[in-house]
């Protein structure tokens, strides 16, 4: 059980979570919660794989995946922004819709080729760096590198640029933003779309790079829900999101690798001697999501961890309130 191997594998799975989490951070920062991540990711995974197998072009697959998931997210946008419907209900409906559509269009796809459809890269100068090199910069999928760049970019965009300030304003106090001349509706549509595009990219990461192939709803296997939990764990901060996503990726792999050695830190390794303990580890990510969602559902706690003040509240122009 080599921690470097575990972390290296964790980056790959973590990249899936990272894209979805970052996308959701953008959407929620603008005040729109989209619980449909799982559905959008599945649509993305299906479109990416289907298009790439048909055309042989991975880039086309990624673009297709982002557009498909983006289109789905716009449905959520229309329902929650234009018609001011409940965001939780619409998000859940979006999950069902996305999963259903993906299964219908993915019918018969699962037999097609099953090895990685995107190139892997080793960065010449950075890969020899001890510890960090073998984890981050050796034989990782191109999409992992996109993830590395997207994290600082997202942080900078949200916290240090003018459009980022508008984004935060719309999520914290839409009426004030409106009064300042920001088009609240347009802003929210844009960031819901960004959330959808990134969820599509996240799905494409699974079906093209991490676990190539199309395996119906098991392709995402609940990762979308973990991403929803990660957004809250990350307190809507891209850096913490990256940490959480990679840590979760590593945890998934640890569950398997920990069964290898007979001794763990000098004592009898319980996971080597008893296969049943693995069930407990497999449960942990979902326990985490439940705990985080409980915290987030409590108003006082939410304020404390820095949730956007207008998150989940529809904005009606001209009405009093947030």
């Amino acid at each position: 059980m080599d921690p470097i191997i575990i972390l290296h594998a964790g980056i790959a799975t973590g990249t899936v979570l990272l894209f979805a989490t970052l996308g959701e951070i953008f959407a929620e920062r603008s005040g729109i919660m989209n619980l449909g991540l799982e559905g959008m990711m599945l649509i993305g995974a299906m479109s990416a794989f289907s298009i790439t197998v048909a055309t042989g072009n991975g880039l086309l697959g990624i673009v297709g995946a982002m557009l498909a998931a983006g289109a789905l997210s716009m449905l959520h946008g229309v329902v929650t922004i234009h018609f001011q419907a409940d965001q939780v209900v619409s998000g859940l409906a979006l999950t069902f819709l996305g999963v259903g559509l993906a299964l219908v269009f993915g019918e018969g796809l699962s037999k097609a080729g099953t090895i990685s459809l995107l190139p892997r890269l080793t960065v010449p100068i950075l890969s020899p760096v001890p510890v960090l090199g073998p984890i981050f910069f050796t034989n990782q999928s191109v999409l992992a590198y996109v993830g590395y760049m997207l994290v600082p970019f997202s942080w900078f965009f949200i916290n240090r640029t003018r459009p980022g300030m508008h984004l935060r304003a719309v999520g914290e106090n839409p009426s004030a933003a409106d009064a300042m001349g920001i088009n609240v509706y347009r802003q929210r549509y844009i960031y819901v779309l960004v959330g959808g595009l990134l969820a599509g990219l996240s799905g494409a990461t699974i079906s093209l790079a991490v676990s190539p192939g199309w395996f119906s709803e098991l392709t995402t296997g609940g990762l979308g829900w973990i991403a929803v939990g990660l957004v809250i764990f990350a307190a809507w901060n891209p850096w913490r999101a990256a940490f959480g996503a990679y840590a979760f990726g590593a945890l998934r792999r640890t569950i398997l690798d920990i069964q290898g050695p007979q001794l763990l830190l000098g004592i009898r390794n319980p996971f080597f001697f008893n296969p049943y303990y693995g069930f407990f580890l497999q449960m942990l990510p979902f326990v985490f999501v439940i705990v985080v969602l409980i915290i987030a559902s409590r108003e006082a706690l939410r304020k404390r961890i820095g949730a956007p003040a207008a998150l989940g509240l529809p904005y009606v122009r001209g009405e009093r309130g947030l």
């Binding site: 191997i5 699962s110 690798d257 296969p275």
Partner: protein, 401 residues
Amino acid sequence: MSFKTVWRGTGLLLISALLLAACAQAEEAEIVGGFEIPVVEDGKFNVAMVLIGPHDDGGWSEAHWDGLNYIEDNIPDTHVAFIELVPEGADSEQVFRSLARKGFDLIIGTSFGYMDPMEIVAEEFPEQMFIHLTGFKTNGENYGNMFGEMEVFKYLAGMLAGSRAKMDGNPRLGYMATFPIPEEIRLGNAIMLGAKQTCPECTMDIRWINTWHDPVIEKEGAASLFDAGVQVVFTGADTPAAGDVATEKGKWGVNYDHVNACQTDGCLTAPYWTWGPIYADIAKGTIDGTYEPGFQYFDSAAGGMGLFGFMEGQTPQPGIEDLPAEDVQLVRDTLAAALRGDFDRFDVFKGPIFDNQGNQILADGVSLEQLDLDGFAEFGSPCSTCMYWWADGITAELPDL
């Protein structure tokens, strides 16, 4: 007409359309627990199958689905239907009950965890036949257990994998096992015993993945073994993940279940099932009332199994080509003997056999009994040696039950 009216109208139209669609559906099919229950065709012999994975998973479920279609194609006046992706446990009980209520004459459940639900439902519908794989229960009347001696083919694949690993100078195998049940331990032991024939120094690591069908976890499990330094990975689960990951890692995998499971060059071979003839016999026997359900355990000679690359009309995978000729010949000879009926599970599990704790499991020339193959004494099986042990060479342990 105002904007709002247009939307209201559209909404109403949508809802009524959905309602109409739902009513039209209701006449044809019933939905139970999210699963659409198929209907029987009057005047025909109706067979239903419940699958744990999708019917096109390229592995276990697809092999059964092929077998189901074989029934319809080869026995006149039969109608077949299936339900896929049915989780084990309580959900499946509803599905089995609904199928029985619809009037299916023969209902086949193809996953270990359907065992208890099927037992309950079979009791409620004594006129219909229930066949279950791969558990260890039967009521001797209308609920039968069925499986075949796959251990022979895993043993042969173990020979090839041992030869391959030795040739590559890395005598380490890996076995991605699903759950600690007799079937998985038996097949793992068979692999190890086979590998020892061609590679006495070979060892085998185990990864429990706690699932029969989760392609993503299966891939992660295979990667975990390869990254730990293993040269050839076997899978005990449903999809071709081992060979696929092996291809990416430049190593070797042994897939399972379906004749088409070896689609990538990294796949060394695949022991597979051809359920068609077996199912057809059961269906025929049920139609004329001659089939007696119990513990049916068919031999290699029954034509229900194969070793990919070595059966008639197949070409061996690239990974076989440069193996020592005497190893490949040994596999071919043993396979031929098995298909003739001269080599079976009792030859695979024939002493001297030691477990990995140094205990002698079987004395020289003594074989396991049928009960031992599928039993844990701790769970009430009257077996004497049982299957709760790992063969010498396997790097893993089993907890006290």
